[in-house]
Symmetry: D2
Subunit: 334 residues, 4 copies
């Protein structure tokens, strides 16, 4: 069995959007993402701390969907290793030359065992360093991509697959019979990827890191100022899992993003797993607030290597939202 | 007609609680109120900025209720004026000597035309100044009482009555036919008193000022740490009305308090009124989040001068919660 | 003796600047003040919370100086009263019609007994309300003018004069023989005016209120980003006096401003004075940091009613900066 | 040549203090460090996020000094590798059994080529997880150790030595002829160790991570409240290097610590180095404030494996503090 590629971190995603103009207004004008490059068909965006070409590609398409989730690997050899690894798993793969994805070196793209299109790369161009350009910061003042959260019908299967790729487990939501959700990491943070039990493959959300709770509150205030409050789906709040301060927003195509601040270091070799009971009303919101229904049910379709929408399988385990706990989603709000 | 007393500000409230021990655990141990004095039957609490004896008296009683809302008046003459003013209005009044309310000079207590027991005083003792004792700050780090919010069946009536007392109007929620809520002030802030349309007289909540949004977030985090999240009723969030950052909590007897930060200066003689449409989903939460049902429906009973529970009249106007707007309370959460 | 005018608050200042273009770059582009109106000779600026026409007028002039400090009075009658009051004091006065100062009703201008040109007004136009336009906020996110700080050779004289005008005393720096500095208020905050002992009449600084410490830190970060760090003179820090969080900046003409957050309520009739010993190293900076020499020595000239620079008298009492205390200005930095 | 041990991160330091009682008052009562264990001769302290036994050992000793800086290595094999590696470098080493350092597995201790006593360990016990015990947080709310900053007479030599150990370079202060300071990392942050040019070996400071600028401001406010402001040596401020928000404090023995918040991710294989000119007044303080003289000159002695004070060599290169730039330390404060 080929060793898996040495994955460094979650790095960027490519989303198909139905109106690039509307998407630009949301992601750039409102949220304040930095434009590294743009043309008629796509926008390449990054956070203020990101030192590579982009954290997000928005590409004009006929329907909204997630074209790819991209992980950085350590060396070019890891691309070769990725190709072999996924072929052995029976996955469709393709290799693209440098620049096929703008600003990025050669890539290997795969349809992974969970049904997601995943892109691996080992090198990227370095745009201007903006970390200390406080004069430019606007909107949510997003620093960088933090994680992907994906909907999968079978959470243990996703856990096994990502364990095989060398991801560590930081936190779970579980009970004696079911693993409802799991958070896994390569970089030294709570996660690069998390699994939400549900119909899948679908992209639940992209998590972007901001430095301060102030940024989370401020983007909500700006959104209210502009009477765009419908795009605030859930939060701000404190997560139980990860301890991060968060808000979930929806873009004009319904793609969900999270502005996420301050989790914790996970780099020690024996980093202990934190297991939350599904009965703990604080697991999803440390202040006990209910999760809104749309947050459990809605997600972005996934596109395959040909750009076609992947069929979705229904959840094959107990849904977390069906567990009746005091403050949770499907129970009545207090 | 006698001129009304010159009211300086909302100053303190007296609440009856069914377990002083439980109340102490909540208000002192958890929220961090400063104890000015306590004995077997009562607790006298203040915020870290308050320079008079107390902002809150918790008195042991057979049933939970609001014994009194207290306003400071400018001089002892204003007490005499208050007595005359309320007698002319046909209200029951009583005069109590200095010390009858601990730490407070002579008082005039009245059953006001809205059915609330209100206490007026002109002088109070000064406890130790703790404004710069950051080493002592805990919990919500409450600075001082900011306002009373009361449930009244007829909001225009309450507005007229408080206008007569010389209160200015800062903000309203209204439509062409109904005044749903109003905020009125004597001190140079958004309010000393606000009216929520509903069965009344009842006390909706006591608003306490904190200096920073951080205090609002932190008290929620502390509450989550202690698995007491049921006491967080609504928020944190940004108010449309007042622009303050807030959270609503419930004490063990169900008394509601708000931790409230940073509104704005209203001291100019021609301070303009801000009128919110009841159709604006941002009026109660600037981020468009629904108001929970309990927040509209539940409130504390009011006690009369004899300590008996005042009968409650049903609301006599259209209820704000019955107005179907996108994000509001009685509509489904998104 | 005529009663003094009923002063409501410090409202705006007019500064002469030698380059309106440079001043615009500093106050508008960098600090984010809102432009209510501008023409070739002047800029009318306000903070995001201000509901009247302006907090600051910058007027092009041959030399930098302070043309006027403006206080709002309660009614038009107070203008007449002001005229009589200052004439009785032997001060030169002049009355100007509405619009003479743009956006402002009729004014009475005086050369006050301390040598400052002071403008009184009772009415102003109301520009668009921007308090909840978080989408527009930039720079230091200044909300409104908070206070004037003036250099006077004789602090007790300034105290007596402003006491006569009905100002309350909130804090002092003193020892058994000298009153080094004093803070006095009309609105319910720590001050509308403060006195720094030194050659005078000169304007020490204009204090502008911001809602959060974050705004103070952020404007410094923006200034660093633009390599303009020379304009940060002192702070950020916590004041002992007032307990506010602060930073002092200098504009291109050397005019000093303070961004100032969160002091405390002073509206009670018997509000107690806080007296700081000049020996307490925390009085000027609660963290004990030295005051830089320029902060004690430099200030803006004052212009008389004819626009001529007022002659300056040397300090006639012990200078605060000459008191050798552990951490203070003229002692060596640690 | 033996490969170096695989170092995970800077983990803890052991300091000798002359009064454990005074040290406890400072580190525990004031700063709020968590006590994992204490006895008559030592205190074992950690931050609220730390999941291993301690970040700091304070041991009672005859004179103040730094007994050891400890790095975590990946596996027990790395201990063997460390022993071999340092013996080849001609360094004195010693191996200690598990528990020799309380809460820690077997260690290898060395006198490194720079003259510091360094301890390597691969395993530690896990105390109670307190990351979400907001109810316990006090003082500076320190989360974990972030880095060591050491004084060395020859910065390039230190850079070469730590490069050999596999550390990456994140930032420098330099000019065409001199490397004045360098920041190096193993974990994915700006640094685990930094070098300040000066007489050495000495410990310049221990850097502890906090989650929010609020924690930095708050500990200063608490210190001011207790009239202990002499222990605030420098800051709060924003670093140019690292972009972190910081304050430097001194303990009763003069040991220096930094409370340090929010730097940036450095985990990418080609992470670019940020090189600051020594002439940039923003390099040490992004707001251009001078560095106080004591910060450049004072540091803690280092103890050898026998507990004896290491002799100190004078700096062998141009001192950064001798470079006359506008706002820097040895020039006059503005």
């Amino acid at each position: 069995m080929t060793a898996p590629p040495d994955i460094v971190r979650s790095a960027y995603a490519t989303l198909a959007v139905t109106s690039l103009e509307d998407a630009r207004r949301f992601w750039v004008d409102l949220l304040g993402f930095v434009v590294t490059y743009e043309d008629k068909s796509a926008l390449y965006l990054r956070g203020y701390d990101e030192l590579t070409h982009h954290n997000l590609v928005l590409r004009s398409g006929p329907a909204a969907g997630c074209e790819a989730l991209a992980y950085r690997v350590r060396t070019e050899n890891d691309l070769t290793r990725a190709e072999a690894y996924f072929r052995e798993l029976g996955c469709r793969t393709e290799r693209c030359p440098a620049g096929h994805t703008r600003g990025i070196g050669p890539t290997v793209r795969v349809e992974d065992p969970l049904g997601f299109t995943v892109e691996f790369f080992a090198s990227a161009s370095h745009p201007e360093r903006l970390q200390q350009r406080y004069d430019l910061r606007r909107g949510a003042e997003v620093a960088r991509l933090d994680h992907f959260n994906i909907c999968v019908p079978d959470v243990p299967q996703a856990y096994e697959y990502y364990s095989g790729l060398g991801f560590g487990l930081s936190e779970t939501i579980e009970d004696s019979s079911t693993l409802y959700a799991a958070w896994m990491y390569r970089k030294q943070s709570v996660h690069d990827v998390a699994f939400t039990g549900g119909a899948g493959p679908r992209l639940h959300h992209l998590g972007f890191f901001a430095h301060e709770p102030h940024s989370v509150l401020r983007i909500c205030d700006i959104i209210g100022s502009l009477q765009l409050e419908d795009c605030i789906e859930r939060g701000p709040g404190r997560h139980g899992v990860s301890n991060a301060f968060y808000v979930y927003l929806r873009d004009p195509d319904g793609h969900r993003l999270e502005v996420y601040t301050s989790d914790y270091y996970t780099g020690d070799p024996d980093h202990p797993v934190l297991r939350w009971s599904v009965k703990d009303p604080r697991r999803r919101d440390f202040w006990g607030h209910p999760v809104v229904e749309s947050w459990y049910n809605e997600a972005s379709p996934v596109l395959d290597l040909n750009g076609a929408v992947r069929p979705v399988s229904e959840i094959s385990q107990t849904a977390e939202s069906s567990v009746r706990v005091g403050a949770d989603g499907y129970t009545a709000p207090r």
